[in-house]
């Protein structure tokens, strides 16, 4: 197996080398000037000084350019002069000038704006929203990116690939080696058959991995596949030490329709595979889908399952669907389901299923289910019913629930919100020769306030919640929860004291027993959004003894670095329960690196996390 993997890696490397250089994308937007700046994080380009833009028949000169590469929208400022050379028409070329020129797409469409005593707007009216809303990012903002490039010339194609000349890459604000040519943005993958290197990565699951994209775009077949070569042995991870992970999806097709879709997954390390073939079609009166699944692993028998599904489309209030699955060994299941659409706000779903399992054990069950949802201006109602019968043992299970929720009622000039909801639950489960029935209705009422301003800049925020549950098998109980919060804000600083009590009362015969717990939380927060936040909390328990204190801190550093800390101190035991202090950096929204100290691990650590 290892020899096979090494052979595959060598062939992949040779294929990559042979496929580079890829036939260059058409140079659809060519920019030249004294200075350009491209930010990797913002995917944005700025240019200043003697700007020249060429695309198609147009040559445009300006002083400044701003361009959003992702959206392919941009803006030119200054003494904008545009020349459109019409090659077919020998009479000459068209010219126009303006103060600002908005453009979109490659090749671009334009909107011209002149700022004289009046503002004159002419051109493609579809770009008027661009005129109002285009976001201009200054070079200062672009340079906060951990990776950016300065250069003097570039081409941008339809796939958003940017190739630049006379380039200085900057990492974390520091210049690196100037290059005469460099592809600073790879862009989207072209819609053609290709094999390309995608990524190099490290994670706690795969170890070190190299990722490749295999794309198929032929007349009869199309698909996208990921090939991942992983190495775990070097990092002393458990088996498998290394291997290939091949996954993807594709289809066989004609010009007009898809014949067969498939998804596949193969892991050489675990010797496991998964292949699913699907054929589906939608006809006038009904639609159907057939699928076959194969799944296997080393030392395990092959699992195979066939599924067929038919749905009737043209009926007025229902869309019945029939489904059958069979594992080619004796296990089979049938299912019939349909939504019932009689009223607009009323959703009803019916479902019947029979499952016969013939594997290491035998079972034969029939299930019927119905779910109901209704929305009105004043309330919402949801209900579920399930009936299940074991045909071998003649045992029956039933479940029924209803939940009625009133729309929140606003009182006292929308300061107070009243929420009322009630529920009913019924279940019947087999117990010996009979069934055990449980019925538990209940009601939940909550009263929340947005707060009341009191003198000296303080604010009181009260809250109340009542929950009562009836239970035919156990004691009924009522829960009361009170909350009173006293808050004060001064600029970025916020302090609050929260007093909460939680009580439960049980009615037993003539007696009412109960217990309640109370606690106080004191918190201090100093927060400036996008810069830093610090939160200090103290917690007193039911006996009014200070139980624990915690501190959470976050500081935003340059180049998207974050400094985080969390400390939890047990006052009664006079020790730290948790201490975590670390710095974190996110790369290209895909990989996060954290490094710091953890008391739980009792050491310094570095973590690599994938998104």
């Amino acid at each position: 197996m290892e020899k096979y993997i090494k052979y595959l890696c060598l062939n992949l490397i040779l294929l990559i080398i042979a496929s580079i250089p890829v036939v260059g994308a058409e140079a659809d937007l060519r920019l030249k000037g004294d200075y350009f700046l491209y930010s990797d994080d913002h995917d944005y380009l700025y240019g200043g000084g003697n700007i020249s833009l060429k695309s198609g028949d147009y040559t445009i000169r300006a002083d400044t350019v701003y361009m959003n590469i992702e959206l392919q929208t941009g803006l030119l400022y200054g003494n904008v002069q545009a020349i459109k050379s019409t090659k077919s028409d020998k009479s000459g070329s068209e010219t126009f000038s303006c103060d600002a020129l908005f453009f979109k797409g490659i090749p671009p469409r334009f909107l011209r704006v002149s700022y004289g005593d009046e503002i004159a707007v002419t051109g493609d009216n579809d770009l008027l929203t661009l005129y109002s809303l285009f976001d201009k990012k200054s070079p200062d903002m672009l340079k906060t990116s951990s990776l950016y490039f300065e250069f003097k010339e570039c081409t941008v194609d339809k796939n958003k690939k940017i190739r630049a000349k006379i380039v200085i890459p900057y990492m974390m604000g520091l210049p690196t080696v100037p290059l005469s040519k460099f592809t600073i943005k790879r862009g989207e993958w072209a819609e053609k058959t290709m094999l390309a290197f995608n990524s190099i990565n490290y994670s706690g699951i795969d170890g070190l991995s190299l990722g490749f994209l295999l794309r198929l775009r032929e007349k009869a077949a199309a698909g996208d596949y990921d090939i991942k070569l992983y190495e775990r042995g070097l990092f002393k991870m458990e088996d498998p030490k290394r291997g290939v992970l091949f996954s993807g999806q594709g289809k066989f097709k004609t010009e007009k329709k898809e014949l067969l879709n498939y998804t596949l997954l193969y892991n050489s390390g675990k010797q496991s595979y998964n292949l699913k073939l699907v054929h589906r079609n939608n006809l006038k009166l009904f639609g159907y889908a057939f699928s076959q699944l194969f799944s296997g692993q080393e030392n395990r028998s092959l699992f195979s399952e066939f599924s067929a599904e038919v749905s009737i489309n043209r009926l007025k209030y229902i869309v019945p669907k029939f489904q059958v699955t069979h594992d080619w060994k004796g296990s089979v299941s049938y299912q019939v389901s349909t939504p019932v659409n009689i009223l607009k706000n009323l959703n009803l779903q019916l479902n019947w299923q029979r499952r016969i399992l013939e594997s290491t054990y035998h079972s034969d069950t029939a299930d019927f289910g119905a779910s109901f949802n209704f929305l009105s201006s004043f309330f919402s109602l949801a209900s579920n019913y399930n009936f299940s019968k074991n045909l071998l043992e003649s045992a029956i299970r039933k479940n029924f629930s209803v939940n009625l929720r009133m729309k929140p009622i606003l009182l006292l000039m929308d300061n107070v919100t009243l929420d009322v909801s009630s529920f009913y639950m019924f279940s019947s489960l087999p117990l010996g020769n009979s069934n055990m029935t449980r019925i538990s209705p209940g009601v939940d009422i909550s009263l929340r306030s947005a707060g009341v301003e009191i003198p000296l800049g303080f604010k009181i925020v009260p809250g109340f919640r009542l929950n009562h549950l009836w239970d035919n098998r156990e004691d009924n109980y009522t829960d009361f929860n009170y909350l009173v919060s006293l808050q004060r804000e001064i600029g970025y600083f916020r302090a609050s004291v929260d007093y909460t009590t939680a009580s439960r009362y049980l009615a037993t015969d003539f007696w009412i027993e109960g217990n309640n717990r109370k606690n106080i939380n004191l918190s201090f927060e100093y927060k400036k959004p996008d810069y830093y936040s610090f939160l200090m909390r103290y917690y007193w328990n039911n006996n009014m003894v200070l139980e624990n204190s915690s501190f959470t801190g976050l500081v935003q550093l340059p180049y998207d670095l974050k400094f985080s800390s969390f400390l939890l101190y047990y006052n009664r035991e006079k020790r730290f329960q948790t201490v975590e202090v670390f710095i974190e950096k996110t790369f290209k929204k895909k990989l996060k690196i954290q490094g710091g100290y953890s008391l739980a691990l009792k050491r310094f650590f570095i973590k690599f996390l994938n998104f």
Partner: protein, 145 residues
């Protein structure tokens, strides 16, 4: 100045490396008050960022060489369907020949703009370098919470 690395790489000489050579707007703000206190700007913002008339504009332009003129223009729409026309215009001379400025700050008050959305444009040496839209709220009391 950015772009000067001080060393050669891949056959590139310093003279051909990209260098910022054109002034650009780094910051634009609309404030309640701006004062020059010992050479530093002291700014006061509007509450809840609701800009009322009169207001101050505050602009930071970076990488200015030699002298120049900044022209600040605000436009308004006299009627719903009409074009935007010039309402306020201000001029500022700055800089001296032969000198380079990492940044220059400009601020002044704008009066007489009616409530509504206004387009503004900044011209440096008669060339547009920035434009945008801002909203002036009504001059009445702010709505109660």
């Amino acid at each position: 100045m950015v772009g000067i690395t001080g060393f050669y790489g891949c056959g590139l000489k310093r003279a051909v490396l990209p260098v910022v050579s054109y002034p650009y707007i780094s910051n634009v703000e609309f404030l309640k008050e701006v004062r020059n206190v010992d050479g530093k700007p002291r700014k006061k913002k509007f509450k809840n960022n609701r800009i009322l008339s009169p207001f101050y504009f505050f602009i930071k332009i970076k990488d200015i060489e030699n002298s120049g003129e900044l022209r600040v223009v605000f436009y308004e729409k006299p009627s719903e369907k009409g074009k935007e026309v010039k309402a306020v215009e201000k001029h500022f001379q700055c800089g001296e020949e032969g000198k380079y400025y990492e940044y220059i700050l400009f601020f002044d008050t704008i009066e007489g703009l009616s409530a509504g959305v206004h387009t503004y444009a900044f011209f440096f040496n008669d060339k547009l370098i920035y434009e945008g839209k801002m909203t002036v709220e009504t001059v009445e009391e702010e709505p109660q919470r």
